[in-house]
Symmetry: C2
Amino acid sequence: MNGKATTTRTRLDRGRNALGPALELVHTGRAPTRAVLTAELGVTRATAGAVAAELEALGLIRVDSNPGAAAGSQGRPSHRLAVDEKGPVALAAQVHADGFRAALVGLGGTIVATAPGCVTVSADPAQVLGAVVDAGAALLRESGRRCVGAGLAAPSAVAEPEGTALNPLHLAWPAGAPVREIFAERVRAAGIEGPAFTGNDVNLAALAEHRHGAGRGARDLLCVATGHRGVGGALVLDGRLHTGSSGLALEVGHLTVNPEGRPCHCGSRGCLDVETDPLAFLTAAGRVPGPEVSLLQQSRDLLRTSPDDPGVRVAVGELIDRLGLGLAGLVNILNPDRIILGGLHRELLDADPERLRAVVADRSLWGRSGGVPILPCTLDHNSLVGAAELAWQPVLDDPLAALGREPA
Amino acid sequence: MNGKATTTRTRLDRGRNALGPALELVHTGRAPTRAVLTAELGVTRATAGAVAAELEALGLIRVDSNPGAAAGSQGRPSHRLAVDEKGPVALAAQVHADGFRAALVGLGGTIVATAPGCVTVSADPAQVLGAVVDAGAALLRESGRRCVGAGLAAPSAVAEPEGTALNPLHLAWPAGAPVREIFAERVRAAGIEGPAFTGNDVNLAALAEHRHGAGRGARDLLCVATGHRGVGGALVLDGRLHTGSSGLALEVGHLTVNPEGRPCHCGSRGCLDVETDPLAFLTAAGRVPGPEVSLLQQSRDLLRTSPDDPGVRVAVGELIDRLGLGLAGLVNILNPDRIILGGLHRELLDADPERLRAVVADRSLWGRSGGVPILPCTLDHNSLVGAAELAWQPVLDDPLAALGREPA
DNA sequence: CTGAGTTTGTGCCGCTACTAAACAAAGTAC
DNA sequence: GTACTTTGTTTAGTAGCGGCACAAACTCAG
C-alpha cells in the first residue's frame, strides 16, 4: 500500500476542450438543454455533463435541475441551460454622430444596464472616450458585477493591427486617431478589469445580429447599413467577422450604382455612399437638412410623418433602386446566404421590400444568388451588443484562461 | 501475474490528430525538415517523429535520414522531409476553350505526367469529359501508380451543392449541365479509384497558387484572371477557397469600370467582363479576331509580336486602367493582402506593372489597402494543379481514412 | 395505479494520443 | 579533443476523452 495512488483524478477530468464551444452554444441560444448541448458538441453525455457543471461553477451559466415545464416528448426531461443573469458582464461603449452610449452586456447579448450620454461629441477623441468609459465605470459600480472586458464601437473604419480610426469624419476627429489605444488607456485608467477592444460599428452590428439577431444560423452573412453619412458594410463568415488583411474590408461605399450620379470625393461619381445615405435621401425628397439632429433621425422622421408625400415616395424608390444595384454587386462578389440591412437602408427595406428584392434578383447573375433573403436588423443597439461580443470573445474561446483560473 | 499487460502499445500511439496538418505542411513545402515540422505543429519531437514515420509508412513522404548537405547552423542536422516521388497521384482534368488536358499530379503539386487533348470541344459535355477521363486513365495505367481521386477544372461557375455549370458559354455547353455528376460518373466508369470533384478553373488556379505558387503565405488572397471571354475571380481565405453560399462568389465580371463603356449582356454597361477580356483587348487594338485559336492566344501573340504598335500600346493602357479600377473596387470590398493575376491580366501586369499598381492604389480608399502586392501567377497549368488539390484534400484532411487503412 | 418504454444524468473503467524528461546521436566551435 | 548546440528516441506518466452499466425522471397504455 504505497502512497502513490494509480491516479488521483482532479475534479475536472473532461470537457476542458469543449468548454469554449459549449459556452458559445449557450451564449447564442443554440443549446437550451443539456441534451441538445450533448448533440451539438458531439460528445458523450458524461462529457457534456462535466462541461455544464464546470461552466456553472465558473458562474457563467445556470443548470436548471428543476425540470418544471419541460414536456414535449417522452423520456426523462433534460436540464435546462441558461445564461447566469448574475454572472459577469462586458462593458460596451459606442460613439456616434448624436453622442455616445455605455452599457453593460451579459452573456447571451442581453443589455443589463445602459447610460446614454448625449453631450455634444467633442473633436478630442480622448475626451469623448473618457466620458463614455466613465459612464460605463459608473454602471459597473452600481451593478457590482464582475467585468470581463470592454469593447468600443466606432463609426469609422478601424485599421488593423494598429487600431487607428481612418475616417471618423462625422465625429470631426482627426483621421488616423489611435482610438484603440486611447480607449484601452481610458479603460485601464478607470480601473476596469479585462482587456479592451475596438471595432467598426457596422462590423460589430453584424456580429451581434449573427449571434443574437436576424443573422442567426447564416454562414455567409452580409450586413449593409447607413447612419449619418456614407454606407458601411460587414461580412460574417462561419461565425467570424471578415475584416480583411488590414481591417478595411467591406468598404462598400464606392461601388458605382448610378453612372450619371453625383460626384463623390473618391473621384468617381454615383457611388453607393453619396447615392443612398441619409443626406441623399433628404436631398432626393427635396428637403434641406437641419443641423440639430442626425441626418438619419431626420430621414426617419420624414419617412414616418409623410410617407405618402410625392417627393418622399420618389426618393424612396430611387434610393431602393440604387441600393439594390449595390447589393446585387455585392451578391455577385460575396454570394452571401443572407443580407441584413440597418439604419436608413432598413427603413427603405421596410418601405418597399418587394421592390428592393426584385432589383437585387434582377441584377444578380443567373438570379440564383439574387434570391438571397434580405432582412431588417432585429436587435436594439446592435453595435453596442457587438462591442460587448469583442470583450466576451476571449471568454468564449477559453473560459478557464479568460476568467483567471488556471492561467493558460 | 495475470495475463493482462498494463497496455500493449499499438504501433501508432501518437500523431493521429496531427497527421493531416503535418502532411499539409510537407505538401505546401512549409516543413522541409523534421525539426521545422515539430515547430510548425506545436508538438513535441516525439510526436513529430511518429507522425513523419507514419506518413512515410503510408507511402506519402520520404524521411531522408542521410543528412548530406545539411549544414547551416550548429547542432545535429535534422532529417529532411520530402514528398515521395513514387507515391500516389491525383488525376487532374481541365476543359477550356482550346480543348482539354489531363494530368497526374503528385503531392507537392508536381505534375507527373500530362496529356493534352486538342480535339475540338464538343457541345456534349459527356463526350468531352469522357475523352479527358479516358486520357487520364491511360496516363494512370502507364504510370502504374495509385490514384487518390480525380478533380476537374471547368471554365464556368459551378453551382453548389449541385455541381452544375451555370455559364459554360464558350464551350457551347447547355447552361446548367450537371458537370460534377457527369465527371464523377465517367471517372467511375473508367475504373479510377477515389472520389471525383469539380470546381471552377479560376478558383482552382487560386487554390494552386496559394499552396504552391505566388500566393504562398497569403492570408487573404485574391485572384483575377481572364481566359477567353469574361473575367473570373477567386478568393482564398485562411487557406480555404471562399466559394460563397452557392458557389457563385467572386463573379467579378460585372463590376462597373467604365460608365461610358460598351453595353454588357447583364443590362449595364462598361462591365469588367466586356472591358478587360481578350476580345476587348483585340478590339481596342484595332484587330479583328480570327476563329482558329483562342482569343487569349491571339492577344498574347499580338502582345509579343508587336508590343510597340501604337494601337497595342493604347489598348494596353486602356485595359490596365479599367482593370485597375475593377481591382480597386475589389480591394475596397475584400481587402486582400495579395493579388495574383492570370491569363491576359497577367500579361497586362507584365506590360506595365507600375501603371496598374498606381491605378489600384489611387482608387483604393486611403491608399493603405491599395498598397497590396499585385503579382503574376507563377505555376504552369495552375487550374490543373488546383483540380488535383481537390482530389488530394481528403488525404490532407485525414490520411488514414482517405487511404483506406483504419476506415474512420 | 402499475409496469413497460423512452430519454437523460452519473459513476467507473480503460484507452488513446499526447507531454515530459532523460538519454543518445550528430553535428559545430574553439 | 572537449564543450556546446541541436535533433532524434525511448520510456513513463497522464489528461481528456469514450463506453458501459445503472439510476433517475418522465410518458403512455391498460
